[in-house]
Amino acid sequence: MSESILTIRNLQIEGFADEQWKPIVNGIDLDLNRGEVLGLIGESGAGKSTIGIAAMGYCRPGCRIVGGTIDFDGVQIHELTSDQIREVRGVRISYVAQSAAASFNPAHRLIDQYAETPVQHGVLKFQQAANNARAMYATLDLPDPDNIGRRYPHQVSGGQLQRAMVAMAMSCEPDLIIFDEPTTALDVTTQIEVLAAIKDVVQRFNTAAIYITHDLAVVVQLADRIMVLRYGDLVEESETNEILKNPKENYTRDLLAVRTFKKNPEDLVKGQVPLIEINDLHASYAGDIKVLEDINLTVEKGRTVAIVGESGSGKSTLARAMTGLLPPSQGTVKYSGSELPRSYKERTKDQLRQMQMIYQMPDVALNPRQKLREVIGRPLGFYFGMDGAERDRRVKELLEMIELPTNYIDRFTPELSGGQKQRVCIARALAAQPVVIICDEVTSALDQLVAEEILKLLDRLQKELKMTYLFITHDLATVKAIADEIVVMLRGRIVESGLKDDVLRPPHHEYTELLLSSVPEMDPDWLDRLLESRATAS
């Protein structure tokens, strides 16, 4: 059992940034036995992916291995020539990337891509590989396993594609698989499928695996042992159960305690003043693809309404329809009792000012060629005619409000971290002195600890400024933390809505139930229990 498959000693990796080499990984030791699953966890920049890829003897462009040894089953991988490494990769070590959609070649059928590696390496003939593929698709519970391989990557869903990728990684029955955030880009409901598939396949073939993620609740379902990393250093390493029960380091404890933030229920604004009323709203793309149907929704002043649903449920489209980016085909949006023009182009400056948006990806929501002075200052100048020293003073006030140093005013936006960027987006929205802020998945792209800070900030601002929030998210943990009311959406329709406690209290609509039960819990047996209960139910 305890036969070692991978031994890494004192691994040091540097990356090239700002015209100089900077350390990314500072002397990490790693041991992995056959059939063992090791979880690598940490926030972005922890070096977890870099270590995972280094186990294959590979470095991303702009990185270099400067020290240490990588011993894979008796072979010193870091000393091999690239031809020799190629013999090992794909056959004995394989890799599953975060975005299956970006990793498959869109021009080839799934089964051809499955067979490519074994045929290339001369392990199997195409027919054998194809037969294996069908068996593997069946193992991974893909629908219609005999024929699904004939499809192209865009013809299957995201979760199915990710499973097809796991199948592909298994094509040569490798000794080691590196999973690099394979479920991060998926909805909770889809994540379950993929997690179950990975767990099953790893156990069945007794494959060793390195599972890289930032979500502790996910990794405890799979890993035997967990390494917590931060800034390229090892924080803590021990058995999964041990880490859950007795975390030694503060940082690990913080990771475990994540999602404990809860809005004070007493902050719920009583006395209902309807601020936004949406009546019988329909919207469609390109004329005939209906994305929203029969939406009726009232948002009370001072409250936080969470709109929940998986991708494709139309929740972001609802925000676009409200802001006028996608004029609705039918129905009305009323704001403070008066109807808003359908398109943002016809709305007055003041109407635009009162409804602000914050986006999922702060990277693309901030112009990389602007300094914070302009990003935050522009709404001040645009709406309130401020300029010069007065404007700078207000920008600094806003920076203080979002807990950033005031000297950041001269920084360009790419010089900030992800969490700081999201704070700047919040400040930009606040600069307009809005009444409503629409938050579209504002925490999804952030590390969990950072996300929690953002939620706390938003909650504080709501209390101070009497803000109304519309919170669009697929993450139920966020909803539980911050919402006053919940609206559940499925395929463009609202299936359930009401005050948070009412929606979260059983009995649920069956879709709400599915969403709720799919949120991973910090319990190694959660996945098994869930799958069991779902199996008995059906």
């Binding site: 943002y344 948006m357 693309v364 929501a365 112009n367 060629r369």
Partner: protein
Amino acid sequence: MRFWLSLKRAGLPAHIGIVIILLFAFAAVFAPWLAPYGESEVVDAVPWATPEESGTLLGLDQLGRDLYSRVLYGARNTIALAMGITILAFFMGMTAGFFAAVVGRWVDLLLSRIVDIIMAFPTLFFALIALSIFGTSIPVLVFVIATLDATRVYRIARALAMDINVMEYVEVARLRGEGLWWIMRREILPNTLTPLLAEFGLRFCFVFLFISSLSFLGIGIQPPAADWGAMVRENGVAITYGIFTPLVPAAAIAILTIAVNLVVDWFLRKTAGLREEY
């Protein structure tokens, strides 16, 4: 600071390119002081006198004018004109390209088809027609070449702007109620500047070569003003007598073109985010 660092690391080819461009620019700016003779001053009645015969650096041309002085003045005319034309072409092309990308729909369709029509004609052919209709004067030359090059710039500017236009920060600006001009100038322009600058270098070369070829055909810069392309044409016959005179302006054209391209290559590599292995 960061700029100087990346300049330092640009590599030998880019450094060579930069030094050559600076030399040419220096020559162009200070031509009247550097040149021993005037632009069209006849030094000696002997055509194509060798340096030894005439006591000049590079000898004389077909009318007995000092070649070295002519090359310096030629740098002035050709480079200044090429620069002016490229700037005008970029101004027109970028404005139209950004406008088409941001507004979209029929505006985009209309502008793009107009550009297609202009591009359908071979450039030299188009320039010949335009110049023979409007006559050969500097303003007409500038405007015709700039229009032709603006079509190429339009294509690139539009494609770049389309990518930026779907970014959420542009959406934020729209939802704020910003006008078209502000979106084009403050949101889109800064984010397309680097690739466009690289293109500027390339375009400058093309314009410069184009002026030279028009002058060579006799419809570019008119004599007696010195221009490298015209100088090659006027002295072309000399090559049959084994006289190197026409090769001097030709070499000037080639060297500047190569130098600009060396710098542009470095620029493009930087923008593309490609990095050699260290």
